[in-house]
Amino acid sequence: MTTSERPDTAAELRDAIRSSDPRLSKFSPLRRILAHDDFNSGTHGWTELLGNYNGRGDLSTVDDHMRDFRPPQLSSCTFFDIGTHGAMSGTYALKLATRPYEGHTATAIRRLTMSGRGLLQLEAYFTFKAEATVDPSGSDQFGDVTWDGNLHPSEAQFGCFTVATDLCGDGGLRYHTVARYLNTSLDNQLTRQWVYPVVPEPTPREHLEGKVKLGYAADFTAPNPDDWKPFGEPQELCYNEVPTKVNWHYLRWLIDTRERRSVELQVNDRLMDMSGLPVPPYAERYDSLENLLNFYFSVRTHSTVRNFLFLDSVLISTEW
C-alpha cells in the first residue's frame, strides 16, 4: 500500500461524527469549520451593513444608498393565516426585511478575516418571500402573474436575493465574489435567473472623490442593471404558491481565495460552474482591509411590497 492509498482515518472519523450530529449532518463542510450559525441561539454576528462615516460620527456623511439596510431580525416565520411556521431547525430564523419601497435592500453581513488562502465554502438553508397582502381591494394580478389557484401574484412581488463576499488581501487587493437570484426583472416579470456582476461595488471613497453618487435604494452591489450577467440556466425555486408557506432551500457556494474567484454554486439539486466567471478587483489597493473575509446576504424588492429572506442556519468552512 502506498501513502496515497492509505485511508484518511481522520477524514473518515470527521465524516462519521458529523453525520451523527443532526445540527451538522445537513451540511457538507470542508475540513475546518469556521462558523456554524444556528439562529435559535442569536444572530451570531450577522449584522446590518452600514456605509462609512466621518471622524465625528456624523451619520449624514454615509452614502444615501448605504445608510438604510435595516437590522436583521430573529423571526419565528409567523404569518397572518397559519400563525407560527417556525424554522427548519427549531423556532427561529434570521430574517432580512426590506422596506416597502421600490429598490430597497436589506442586508446581513458577517465579518471575519482569512488565516490562509484556498478553498472556502458557505452553506445555508434559506427561503424567500414577499410580504402577504391582506386587502379586500387588492389585486389578483401583479407583474406577469395572475392568480390561478396555484401561481400567486406575490411571487412576482419578490425582486432578488444575493449572496456575496467582500475580500481583501495580498497587499490590499480587494474583490467581491457575488451570486444573485434574480426572481423578477425590474419591471416585475419572472426571470428566475442566477446573475453575477462584472464590475466591483462602488465605494464611499469613490463618492468622496466625486466619481460616483448613488441615490437612496440604488443597487449597492452593482447599480447598473446592464452590469449583471446570467450564469447557468434559469432555475425555478420552491415558492409554494402563497406568501405564507415556507420551504427551506439548500445553498452551497465554493470559492477559492488563492485564485480570487468563485468555483461553483449548488442550490438544491442544481450545480452551477462559476469558475470561468470574471471577478474584477478594484483598481486601487486598500489600506486597513488586509485579510478581510466578509460574507453578506441581501434581499432587494422590485415592488412596493416588503421582501424577506430567511436563513435557518449558515455554515462557513475552509480547507486552510
Binding site: E48, S60, P71, S76, T78, F80, K95
Partner: protein, 111 residues
C-alpha cells in the same frame, strides 16, 4: 447567559410628519426597551408623542398601552416594553408649527 439584541430602527432620520417605524420581530424576547435619541429639532412648539404598538402578524397594529412618551427637544427618552406579542413598532405624531425632528431610534430586547 441571556440573549440580548439592539436594533437601530431609524438612523438620524428627519421626521416632519406622523410616522411609524418598520415592523420588528421580537417574539423571542421577554423584555424590551425603546431609546429615542433626538439629535436636532426645528419649528415652534414642537411636540412629538410616541406610542408602542404591537401586532400578531406584522400587518395589523394596535397600541400596547395608553402611554404616550413626549419629545419636545434634543436628548434621550426611554421607556420599557413588557407583555408584547410577535412584532413591535413605534407610532409617532408631530405637533407644532412646521415641526421637524432628527431621530435615532433604538429597540433593545432581552430574552
Amino acid at each position: 447567559m441571556r440573549q440580548a439584541l439592539t436594533a437601530v430602527l431609524e438612523r438620524d432620520t428627519t421626521f416632519t410628519g406622523d410616522f411609524v417605524t418598520e415592523p420588528y420581530e421580537a417574539a423571542w424576547a421577554g423584555e424590551a426597551r425603546w431609546f429615542v435619541h433626538t439629535l436636532a429639532t426645528a419649528g415652534d412648539d414642537l411636540a412629538i408623542r410616541m406610542v408602542t404598538q404591537i401586532s400578531p402578524d406584522g400587518l395589523t397594529w394596535c397600541d400596547l398601552d395608553g402611554e404616550e412618551h413626549l419629545v419636545t427637544g434634543a436628548g434621550l427618552v426611554t421607556w420599557p416594553v413588557a407583555g408584547f406579542g410577535q412584532w413591535l413598532r413605534l407610532r409617532g405624531t408631530l405637533a407644532g408649527d412646521r415641526p421637524s425632528a432628527t431621530m435615532r431610534i433604538y429597540l433593545t430586547a432581552k430574552s
